[in-house]
């Protein structure tokens, strides 16, 4: 009966490929998300943007040059109004204003503006850096001989960027969406339109039909994973050091978990209207809390403990460990174990809840 399984799988692949919106959602949208988030930098403390406003009679070229030597600072020079406006828009972390000297005084006031409420770390660090430059200039001008030079020793850091974090997360997200939404909506629609009933007059075994559906979706997911990694490496400078076979194994385990959840939901729901809230109830908390887009390390302790056991957390963490840390199968054993347990649980639920009619 291998032949029937093959024929059914080819037919279901054909149907999938001919479904334009499915291609859009499963292949194009995740790529779009990666590009969007890849362009908008979420790299935490990246470059600090300092605005410099000179209202004094003296030249600030030297000060500006000194500020520019600080790697972490990006310096713009402009008028007070425009720099303050940029600060308001969040385009500056700190604005430094050198005011004109009042009559009789050799120096004007130096004022700094920032929003410590919105950007506590950025403001503090930018202020420290600027302070340091001023100090240096002060020391130089007084020619103090015993000057302490801060020697920075090179330390090797991982220095991962947001895109490296994001791509394995989006791959995991796609696996969840394909399973829960693809299967639950797809099967409820087949049921409602009477297609499953029409098939029930034939000797077709439900297991053969479901197997073909599962193979189709797993193949599409593997293709998508390859595409994301490929695009990531070629266009987004993804630091990919992973073993693709190990990623395929995680993809397969994750797909089984979420496809089984999809089948369970298709069994519970009678119409698309009933699927949507159930599918969202399960997927949205994971989407937000499983560390797909943002690290879970910022979550409150108690919440983080709960998210620890989400299937999407196991999947996303595992993918990330393999893709960007080069973890071996032993390295992701906890994730594989977690996904394995979820597989067992979800398949039991699917078998109990899924109904052909």
């Amino acid at each position: 009966m291998m032949r029937l399984k093959t024929v059914l799988t080819i037919a279901s692949l054909k149907m999938f490929i001919r479904q334009k919106e499915a291609i859009l959602w499963t292949l194009v949208l995740p790529l779009f998300i990666v590009f969007l988030f890849g362009v908008v930098s979420f790299d935490g403390l990246g470059t600090l943007h300092v605005g410099l406003v000179n209202e004094s009679a003296e030249s600030v070229e030297e000060l500006e040059a000194a500020l520019r030597t600080v790697e972490a600072l990006e310096v713009s020079v402009g008028g007070r109004d425009e720099e303050m406006a940029e600060l308001g828009r969040g385009e500056r972390d700190l604005v430094v204003v050198l005011e004109d000297s009042p009559a009789g005084s050799p120096h004007g006031r130096i004022r700094a503006f920032g929003d410590p409420e919105a950007k506590p770390r950025e403001v503090q660090i930018a202020a420290l850096a600027v302070q340091r430059i001023f100090d240096d200039r002060l020391i130089e001008s007084h020619e103090i001989a015993e000057r302490i030079l801060l020697h920075v020793e090179p330390v090797h850091t991982r220095n991962l960027r947001y895109i490296d974090f994001l791509i394995p997360g989006v791959i995991s997200m796609s696996i969840m969406q394909m399973g829960i939404f693809g299967v639950a909506f797809g099967f409820v629609s087949l049921k409602k339109r009477g297609i499953l009933r029409t098939l029930s007059v034939t000797p077709l075994k439900a297991s053969d039909f479901i197997l073909a559906q599962v193979i189709t979706r797993v193949s599409v997911l593997m293709l998508q994973m390859g595409l994301m990694v490929g695009v990531g490496i070629l266009f987004l400078d993804l630091r990919f050091v992973g073993n693709l076979f190990l990623m395929a194994l995680l993809c397969l385990l994750g797909a089984i978990v979420f496809l089984a959840i999809g089948f369970a939901l298709a069994g519970i729901a009678r119409s698309e209207d009933q699927v949507a809230p159930l599918a969202n109830l399960i997927s949205v908390p994971m989407l937000l809390l499983s560390g797909v887009f943002f690290s879970r390390s910022n979550l409150p302790e108690a919440l983080r403990a709960v998210t620890e056991v989400f299937p999407l957390t196991f999947l996303a963490d595992g993918m990330r460990e393999v893709a960007i840390e080069g973890a071996t199968i032993a390295g992701v054993f906890p994730q594989i174990l977690g996904l394995g347990l979820w597989c067992a649980l979800a398949v039991v639920a699917a078998v109990k809840l899924f109904r052909w009619e």
Binding site: R3, L4, R193, R197
Partner: protein, 253 residues
């Protein structure tokens, strides 16, 4: 003795205590076109679905092509061809692809073009079901029911919703299938269709068979019982038989 391909004895079916089929007995002969007539809710579709093993039976027995339906449903499914009242197919496979896949389900390699030509859809092999008209859809679902060359074909209201031309077209298809040695059992609301097409009919009402004979015989019986039409063109037609047996009141679904 005619060769009996379908033998239903005293069939009963209840849904949550509601009796849908109440002691139905039918014999369908090989290579005949047999019609089940009756108002909505008479139990036609329930009877058909019990025979097709889509529903469990609560009493009686069904033997199709020599196979007991209750104990060997899988074998019955392989032996019969079924067109449901609302057969539906995947919308992203062409007609030819659908027939190929359906054939594989029965372990057969079919010639989709030959099947489509048989129901006069030869030029639509690359179309999707959604692109077909009502009559074409019905003819396609008959082709789909024929992929495994079954000896008996069940058609549930195959002409409902079709215009008169499409309906007559479908009659031609049904007659041709019979001429190839197959048996056809169909349900219909159209008396004219039953009279034209069926060799024998069973009239059902409230879950029971109230008459079973050839249309001509049923009409003859009614007339010999003293029935007269108000305006006589013919003495009576099958429609008169039907209404005298099932009443004139309008039935709702």
């Amino acid at each position: 003795m005619p060769d009996i391909i379908l033998d239903v004895q005293n069939l009963s079916k209840r849904y949550n205590g509601l009796v849908a089929v109440d002691g139905v007995s039918l014999q369908v002969h090989r290579q005949e076109i047999f019609g089940i007539l009756g108002p909505n809710g008479a139990g036609k579709t329930s009877t058909l679905e019990c025979i097709e093993t889509l529903r469990s039976i609560d009493g009686g027995s069904i033997v199709v092509c020599g196979v007991d339906a209750a104990s060997r449903p899988a074998e019955v499914k392989r032996a019969i061809g079924v067109q449901l009242q609302s057969s539906a197919y995947f919308d992203r496979l062409t007609l030819a692809e659908l027939l190929t896949v359906l054939g594989e389900i029965y372990g057969r390699r079919v010639d989709p073009m030959a099947l489509l030509k048989e129901v006069e859809l030869g030029e639509k092999s690359k179309a999707y079901v959604a692109q077909l008209s009502g009559g074409q859809k019905q003819r396609f679902s008959i082709a789909a029911a024929l992929v495994h060359d079954p000896q008996i074909l069940f058609l549930d209201e195959p002409t409902t919703g079709l215009d008169p031309q499409a309906r007559r077209h479908l009659w031609g298809v049904v007659r041709r299938i019979r001429s190839e040695g197959k048996t056809v059992l169909l349900t219909t609301h159209y008396m004219e269709e039953a009279e034209e097409l069926c060799d024998r009919v069973a009239i059902m009402d409230r879950g029971r068979v109230v008459a079973e004979a050839s249309p001509q015989e049923l009409v003859r019986r009614l007339i010999s019982g003293g029935f007269k039409k108000e305006r006589v063109e013919r003495l009576a037609n099958l429609e008169d038989v039907f209404l005298s047996l099932t009443g004139h009141a309008l039935r709702e679904e």
